[in-house]
Amino acid sequence: MDSYLLANAESVVARARAGDEAALEELYRAFEAPVYNLARRICRTTEDAEDVLQETFFEVCRSIGRYREEGSLWGWVRTIAASKALMRLRRNKYRDTDQLKDEIMGHRREDTALRMDLEAALERLSETGRAVVWLHDVEGYTHDEIAGMMGRTPSFSKSQLARAHQRLRRWLGEEVET
């Protein structure tokens, strides 16, 4: 994240609230990379992730007046980005077919005992599973927060995380001999 913005967040936000386009662009440049990274880790394609990036900053620009500086600016932007990415998953209706595909892929991998690297294994997870892993393990959201964003229960988030880790463990060849 941009160190200049972190040091001058207050004045940049004040200018952005006043409609200063240069300040809005400063916000975009400062958070473009982490927002895209989050979106790309959740969405299936680069196009979807770029659309989420665009939607996120459109929302940031129109709602900057609602940001009350109670939490970090990045925390506020990140929550918008995560919601937009999850909204994109719902809109694309990946979830309906995901489970079945995931089951099939899972069994195939079990049969062939294929060892994958972490990037590939993460990519192979279901949309929901990957989103929960990324939001919980990397971004640090709680199960309650993830449940809120997904419109599901915390138990759903917990079970998705456990299933995803079981698969990652298997696909990465990390199963312990007992």
């Binding site: 990274n37 129109r62 007046g65 937009k84 993460l122 393990d137 456990a162 990465l172």
Partner: protein
Amino acid sequence: MTHLSMEALLSLREAGLEPGDAAAREHVDACPVCRAELDRLHQRVARLKALPALRPTRDRWPQVAARVGAERRGRRLRVGGLVGLAAAASIALGVALGGPAGRIAGGEQEIRMAMARSQALESALSQYDPEGRVLDGRTAGIAQELEDRIASVDRELEMTELLERQPRDEQLLKLWRERVGLLDALVDVHVTHASNVGL
């Protein structure tokens, strides 16, 4: 020996203790297999956090800036348009009132009621100062969708003013009612959010 499930191992990483976590912790201390599994879990999460950051290949700022600019221009036009629209509707209804029959047709009265309700809801909404509040991403998304739909109804209202009287009044009533429904929902979104966060 029964080993811990993945869910139980994951639960041990959380800050707060859940029921059964103390027993699970005792088990991990005594069981080398589960201890190794927990270590692998920690390592896996550390490796996830260390994955390289992915960067966009295209600059999307020009599209964002263009859309923000277009929305600002649209908002200015819409505010002006709505004032004109309300005035035009009032004049039309005023003419009906002062007409030879001296009474408002049923449809026009319903339009006037819907307009009054719409105005009351907008006034209620402004009391919650939606522009000045922080919304979580999900609520902001819903509010944005409702605002976009209201804007779309407003555009239709403007177009409907150009129609002949009979189809115009029916269409106006339908649109004003739709606007009231959307505003109702928008007020709900803001009020619910405000009460949830204790505002």
